[in-house]
Symmetry: C2
Subunit: 207 residues, 2 copies
DNA sequence: CCGTTAAGTGAACAAACGTTCATTTACTGG
DNA sequence: CCAGTAAATGAACGTTTGTTCACTTAACGG
């Protein structure tokens, strides 16, 4: 075969990516062999090496793509500057974004340990950028007296852990729809950070 | 060698358990070989089969022990019946218990996928007992009007995910001590569930 | 119409895997 | 002091692992 317009190889590469993503998410990086991935695409394991030099590079590629897509999508969503509005935007964005990418989300926070030192540092840096954006938002909210006291970095990690927990139990055919889920989780985060006190249901005279 | 009093094999078994736990936590079940575990104890891989029939049984043993220890410890702590007091007791207990068992905690929620069907069902059942206890507490608190509205099963999962998140970043030599951590997280959970409204800082006339 | 080249095959590699087994070691109860 | 036995050895098993490589296939540009 040779390249058509749009490249034949590009299509195969994408298919292999998808299969690898699904398998890594279900059985873990170490639990999946190159042959298994190749089988899923319908080709030989050796052909995968036309696209990635090693299995490790394939994993790094998946995780890097996931993180860059996440950061880009967050920026592209044009989040408001106001701390409280931005916090709400973050929560809703995070849930919506990750719910459509359960496999790559799973991989990106379960398989950090399967990355070698260099790749780990690279992915970790991207992850930190995302986390720090949230921490900064919380910090500004606290500083302005519109969020409850607390360490913003701890709160940021807590919020992300809480939201990521969805992925471990959510099923599309389950009793809770995506919209209801988003409301439920936003209301939890709002209360947890004290964002509900200053906006929605003030219980004393506003300053 | 043969058994002394207290059994020589028991000691070896325990040592092998510890090494396996540390390795599984760091590199994952599939990423660790029987030879690697044996090396850590200072013996041959074949000797491990005196204690566990398969590698899978070794994993199941670690996870089952972790879950039973968790449930027993929670019961033994004699948690109060009052929903709000029990919720607070749960949060503090959970943090304290898991912080001293980071490795087995890691394994127990990362390696569920490495269990075969039967073992998975068994461990999942134990895990559900723990989760349902918390959900029931939340339910009673909501029913009594002393906690904010919300689905108690979702809230239970959210709380556990939030607390388990600690394990992914906490370092004993870090800036945050265990006591401060416990306070910070309890205050987050209290606000998140609305437990702070009815107890500590009532903002309107109690009914 | 031919030569270049991307894309994929299938066999092969050494290493590592979980597990088995005959054998050795060293202690204990009789 | 001997028989019995828990405990560990070390070689061996068949399989699977990630990866390499010489070779085929098929479409495009000139």
């Amino acid at each position: 075969m040779a390249r058509k317009i749009g490249s034949d190889g590009e299509r195969t590469r994408g298919a292999a990516s998808s299969v690898a993503q699904a398998l890594f998410a279900r059985k873990g990086y170490e639990g999946v062999s190159m042959r298994e991935i190749a089988d899923g695409v319908g080709m030989q394991a050796s052909a995968l090496y036309n696209y990635w030099p090693t299995k490790q590079d394939l994993l790094r590629d998946l995780m890097e793509r996931h993180m860059r897509e996440l950061l880009d999508a967050w920026t592209a969503s044009n989040p408001p500057d106001d701390p409280l509005a931005r916090l709400q935007a973050f929560v809703r964005f995070h849930i919506r974004h990750h719910m459509r990418r359960i496999d790559s989300t799973f991989i990106s926070y379960m398989e950090l340990r399967s990355l070698d030192r260099q790749n780990f540092a690279q992915i970790e840096a991207l992850r930190n950028r995302y986390e720090r954006d949230l921490a900064a938002t919380l910090d500004r909210g606290i500083e302005a007296g519109r969020l409850g006291q607390g360490d913003p970095r701890i709160a940021a990690r807590a919020i992300i852990a809480l939201l990521n927990g969805i992925m471990t139990w959510y099923r599309a055919d389950g009793p809770v729809g995506p919209a209801a889920l988003e409301e439920e989780y936003w209301s939890m985060v709002a209360r947890m950070t004290g964002a509900d006190q200053t906006e929605e249901t003030p219980c004393s005279t506003p300053a």
